[in-house]
């Protein structure tokens, strides 16, 4: 864990979202999305334990960062290049719980690849969500390239690309940021810094004190936000999007957060994360903190919360049942999409 990790207990003062330009309805909707993402998350781990989902990798702990960011973007208009941890992001941008379940279950209705690519390589043409491949950081030059196309075509679309702090060690990451900085491209580089790349801690991954510091080398603004706070994250992404649209070039945002689960179902995090550290972060569960905030702001009460939780469970039940009933891709489709001609 970083020494200077942001450790606020609540998001004070109540009503702060209005200053950030969010309506009361929007923040309650943010909360719904966070609760729904967590419900999907928990169900996917259960399906993993039952052997129904072969590979589990989810967002738990990152929901505030992802949902906050998604609210600052224009779904289907801006370009989005997420990474594998971004289920809550793509859910908020418009992938349905059913599509997400079909992806995890490798079914024919998997919107990303019809069951070809591994789960969590999110993509959807209708939402301008572009899939990466499995090597981390490789989507960063793509994002700079898309932003270049938008700039040359005089479109005011913003390109948003996300990654973990581990991915910021790769050559592709640095090369992509450098190009974006040289050409002052309309792109938002969004780092979800959870302190670990699988087992490797931040101090063995990144030579400087924060990922945001790296922005200086590439002529762009670098900011650190509390990734456990959806309003702060929203405000940072919103400001970056406005900067991009106004010709002010790229921004590197570092959202500090924590993953609550092992890296994936192939990982046992007890070998490298002390339990006290995990527990300390769990006490800052963004869903609990945001609930407290909404209650303090007079926008949520226990009844409404129970209603939201029940709605999320029902959504997940329905999505799971439907996805489990969806057939696997047929062997006759094996060669479809190897070539376009």
């Amino acid at each position: 864990m970083l020494k200077d990790q942001i450790l606020t207990e609540t998001y004070t003062p109540p009503g702060r979202h209005r200053e950030a330009g969010l309506t009361d309805e929007q923040v309650v909707d943010m909360y719904r999305k966070m609760v729904l993402a967590r419900a999907i998350d928990e169900r996917v781990w259960t399906l993993g334990r039952l052997g129904k989902v072969h590979f589990v990798l989810t967002s738990a702990g990152h929901e505030a960062a992802q949902v906050g960011a998604a609210f600052a973007l224009r779904p289907g208009y801006d370009w989005i290049l997420p990474y594998y941890r971004d289920m809550a992001l793509v859910l908020t941008l418009g992938l349905s719980p059913y599509e997400i379940m079909a992806n995890f279950l490798g079914r024919r209705d998997d919107p990303c690849s019809r069951g070809r690519q591994m789960p969590v390589h999110w993509s959807a043409r209708r939402l301008n969500i572009v899939s990466g491949s499995s090597p981390v950081g490789t989507q960063v030059p793509h994002a700079a390239g898309i932003a270049l196309a938008c700039k040359l075509r005089r479109e005011d679309r913003v390109t948003f690309v996300s990654f973990g702090e581990g991915a910021t060690s790769t050559g592709d990451w640095h090369e992509g940021l450098n190009f974006a900085g040289i050409h002052q491209l309309p792109v938002i580089f969004f780092c979800e810094n959870n302190g670990y790349a699988i087992s490797v801690p931040f101090r063995k991954q990144v030579a400087c004190d924060s990922v945001a510091d790296r922005a200086a080398a590439y002529r762009m603004v670098g900011v650190v936000v509390d990734g456990m706070d959806p309003i702060a994250t929203y405000a940072a992404v919103k400001a970056a999007a406005e900067r991009a649209r106004g010709g002010g070039g790229p921004t590197l945002i570092e959202a500090r957060c924590y993953r609550f689960t092992p890296h994936s179902s192939a990982d046992d995090d007890r070998t490298y994360r002390p339990r006290e550290e995990v527990e300390a972060w769990r006490r800052r569960d963004p869903i609990v903190l945001f609930k407290n905030y909404l209650m303090a702001s007079g926008l949520l009460n226990e009844d409404l919360d129970r209603e939201i939780q029940a709605w999320a469970r029902a959504e997940v039940d329905e999505a799971t049942d439907r996805a489990e009933a969806c057939p696997y891709p047929d062997i006759s489709e094996l060669y479809t999409h190897v070539y376009g001609s």
Binding site: H54, F55, G106, R107, S113, G115, R116, Q117, M118, P119, H121, S133, S134, P135, V136, G137, G166, A167, S169, T170, G171, D172, A197, I198, S199, V200, K204, Q205, V206, A266, T271, Y272, Y328, P329, I331, L334, Y335, V338
Partner: protein
């Protein structure tokens, strides 16, 4: 003789060479406290400390570049690339640098680094399930090893660490758990020697890595049909021990080559070409290859099973070849 898993045999090889030669050190992603993505280096950080077991950032080009530099600088690095898929990010360092240091510097510098990496599949999708050994076996200056048993894995890894040339050491992910006999006493398995894993009269099956086991299973079934298979395990792809293959072909006059990778431009193509050059007159039937279907590896289990070659494919190939026995 004690039985070890493939993984344990590799760990023993690393440990013994680290004890034997203090220049040997390990580097790679998640190899320290975590013990490696496939648990090969488990316990070695505790035993040898951070100086000799180094976690690296996610930077494959740098991992191989650092290993190359450290080797030139007088150390014996054993670098781990989490999977061979990520080796593509280091392909320049491997192919343009590591493989050519000795030649480009007229023999003044050597870079005796070992790059260990894992290749395999198991619902990991198109960019996590590739083999790619062919790409590296294409390159003069590199040695490429891909063992099938715990015994060979240990002996070859020790030989690789002592080898004066750079070695790419490829471990099949689906073999890490298999068990096999590994003697207590010290031994090496020389790089560049194939091994007859099963002697037989009627047909030569050339295979390597996991496909050796698939071929063995097929051979047991074929025995019941009265077909006696000889299985040649290549073990090293470069330098390729074609002599052992040719000797076998001269005896059996029939060949099936089994690889787990795409067949196009592959190991099977190379072996078949050399058989045509060196043993054409001994063939009683065309050479047949078994390999993976020519698609990116799909995630979905049904599709994946369909794509990867299995015992049934080997049986069919052998039957087709010996069916034309004269």
């Amino acid at each position: 003789m004690p039985e070890l898993t493939f993984r344990e045999a590799l760990r023993q090889a690393l440990r013994e060479e680290m004890l034997r030669d203090e220049r040997v050190f390990l580097m790679g992603e998640d190899i320290g406290a975590y013990g490696g993505s496939y648990a090969v280096t488990r316990g070695l950080l505790e035993e040898f400390g951070e100086k000799r077991v180094k976690d690296t950032p996610i930077a494959e080009a740098a991992i191989v570049g650092l290993a190359t530099g450290a080797a030139m600088g007088g150390l014996k690095p054993v670098a781990e690339l989490m999977t061979i898929n990520f080796s593509l990010l280091a392909a320049d360092q491997i192919i343009n640098h590591l493989a050519k240091i000795y030649y480009m510097f007229g023999g003044q510098f050597t870079a005796p680094a070992v790059i260990r990496t894992a290749a395999g599949w198991g619902q990991l999708g198109a960019t996590h399930s590739q083999f790619l050994e062919v790409i590296y076996s294409h390159v003069p200056g590199l040695k490429v090893v891909m063992p099938s048993t715990p015994y060979d894995a240990k002996g070859l890894l020790k030989a690789a660490i002592r080898d004066p040339d750079p070695v790419l050491f490829i471990e099949h992910t689906l073999l890490y758990g298999i068990r096999g006999e590994v003697p207590d006493e010290e031994y090496l398995v020389p790089i560049g020697l194939a091994d007859v894993k099963r002697p037989g009269r009627d047909v030569t099956i050339v295979a390597y890595a996991r496909m050796v086991h698939v071929a063995m299973n097929a051979a047991r079934e074929l025995e019941a049909e009265g077909v006696d298979c000889e299985i040649v395990d290549l073990r090293t792809l470069r330098p390729l021990d074609i002599e052992t293959v040719v000797e076998s072909v001269k005896k059996t006059n029939h060949v099936v080559i089994v690889e787990e990778d795409w067949k196009s431009f592959g190991v099977g193509a190379e072996v078949a070409a050399r058989i045509a050059e060196q043993a054409f007159d001994y063939l009683d039937a065309p050479v047949v290859r078994v390999g993976m279907l020519e698609v990116p590896m799909p995630y979905n289990r049904n599709l994946e099973r369909h794509v990867v070659p299995d015992e049934a494919d080997v049986l069919a190939a052998v039957r087709s070849v010996v069916g034309s026995r004269v």
